[in-house]
Amino acid sequence: MSGARFEYEPFPDLELPLAARLGQYPRQPDLFYDTARALGRRAAAVFFRSQFRIQVVGQVPDVPRLALMPNHQSHLDTMAVLAVLPERYRRRITVLAARDYFFERRAGAIAASLFGQAAAFDRGAELAELRRWARLLPQVEAGWFLIYPSGSRKRLEPHSGLAGVLAHAGWTVLPVGLAGTAEAWPVGRPLWRPFRTVRVTFGDAIETRDTRELAAELLAFWERHGRLDQPQEGPS
């Protein structure tokens, strides 16, 4: 007997609860959440632009595999980067966010995923998680990531872990300097302070694949472009 047989291919995340489903990478196609995410990121960008005076320095290269690596000092950081990018770039971005902070509860996962384009990174089991990403990334042909190598708003020095894995996997590493977000929404304050100035500086791609050199270059870039009181200059 000839003829094609039906081949069922169930989605691999059927058993996962919603928070885990929203946090997975690569994402499974989902008409509802993909539409909500498209609306959510636009709404977040409009909101951010309405609340703050924004300065943008530098350019973002149009390459298939890009890792944006900003300094981290405020809850506004992700929105700041997303708000200054055009939609055709913004929709490519996956923000890696701490699973223990953003993806433990359903409401947090929905907010992080829909407004912040977030996927979960398990910093509690960092070594295993880094191995998982090291296996996964070579299979990803195109994708933009936004990661915070410092891992916390209270620390400036970058960890070399995921940044190094991305660099090794062939991702173009782009340093991003965020200035003013710490003043616009300081750590510990319940709400942001509107109408402050926020500056986003996109640097030149870092070529090195050595993780220590990468960390050192990122730190140097953030120290040059991470505060508003520093003189504004072009990226280097």
Binding site: Y8, E9, F11, L14, L16, P17, L31
Partner: protein, 326 residues
């Protein structure tokens, strides 16, 4: 339409169920209003079941029961709110259930097919709400024709027969069949039809499970290995007896043979729906359609029986006794 002759003096089932009149609510008023009666009956059933489980300590039974604490207020609350709220609930639940089905079969990777089935769900429920039976019956035809256009528009052949066939099943079961739950609300003969088919179908599922656990020895189908001859037969007998007990409240104009048929439709139709969707799961190699309802699985696991009982019951009653908009 056949003449409606309510059976008189049939309030004893409510007494047998132990439904006591609340302050300001007489027993006659309670039993004369299906919505009030079934709401009280559902609450009593849940309370009694909770008590029984507390005494019997059946392992694993608490989780599905806890989920019923969520399902019942939402379903009955929407019915109490009115036809609009109920129709919206049926449409939303149908869309979510279809999404589960599409994710299990892989159809969800074909957005054009999926969007067309969503459209069929929404329009079916809308025309059930406005009471246009002619359009309600015509929508599946137009939906299938629209689905047939997809491979032509996309100019693709590979896998298209599979996606088309799975989408047609989606239109029939999740749009057309499930929309009969909205249509039953539109009956001019009251809410007895809807409440009967809704609650008895769910009870039938629960009884098959409970009887099967307690007395089941002989499995009768490889499609659903948990189904037993004893569980199915005992649930069937119980449902038919309960149908006779509540016929005076749900549909007092129906003669005994019709009541018997109504009970059989619920118990046999429920199993047909259950097995139809179980077949989908077995083919796809999954245990449940989802995990949104703890202890039950997905919405489709809860709705599968209703997919058959609702249309079968509605057309049976509509054909014999009328009462639906045309």
């Amino acid at each position: 339409m056949a003449s409606v002759q309510p059976m008189l003096g049939c309030v004893w089932p409510a007494r047998a169920l132990g439904v006591m009149p609340e302050v300001g609510v007489g027993l006659d008023e309670l039993t004369g209003d299906p919505l009030r009666f079934y709401t009280v009956a559902a609450v009593v059933t849940v309370v009694v079941t909770t008590g029984l489980l507390a005494v019997l300590r059946i392992p694993g039974a608490w989780i599905p029961l806890r989920t019923w604490f969520l399902i019942l207020p939402i379903a009955l609350g929407a019915i109490w709110l009115g036809q609009g709220a109920w129709t919206v609930l049926v449409a939303v639940v149908s869309i979510l259930a279809f999404k589960e089905y599409a994710r299990v079969t892989g159809l969800y990777r074909q957005p054009l097919f999926v969007v067309l089935v969503y459209g069929a769900v929404i329009t079916e429920n809308f025309f059930a709400f406005v009471g246009r039976y002619d359009v309600f019956m015509a929508i599946p035809t137009w939906a299938v024709l629209a689905l047939a256009l997809v491979p032509i528009v996309l100019r693709r052949t590979e896998g298209m027969l599979q996606w088309f066939a799975l989408s047609v099943v989606g239109v029939v079961f999740f749009a057309y069949f499930l929309a009969h739950l909205s249509y039953l609300y539109a009956s001019s003969l009251g809410l007895g039809y809807l409440l009967f088919v809704l609650l008895m179908t769910q009870l039938n599922d629960a009884l098959q499970f409970i009887y099967g656990k307690a007395f089941g020895r002989h499995r009768w189908t490889p499609i659903s290995p948990n189904k037993t001859v004893e569980g199915s037969l005992l649930a069937g007998v119980t449902i038919v007896v309960l149908t006779f007990l509540q016929a005076a409240i749900a549909f007092p104009w129906v003669p005994p043979l019709g009541v018997l048929a109504a009970g059989l439709i619920v118990t046999i139709g429920g199993q047909v729906g259950d097995l139809t969707m179980a077949n989908v799961k077995r083919n796809a190699g999954v245990k449940d359609f989802g995990s949104i309802l703890p202890g039950h699985g997905g919405l489709t696991d809860r709705l599968n029986s209703l997919m058959v009982t609702a249309p079968a019951f509605a057309h049976f009653m509509g054909y014999l006794f009328g009462g639906f908009p045309s």
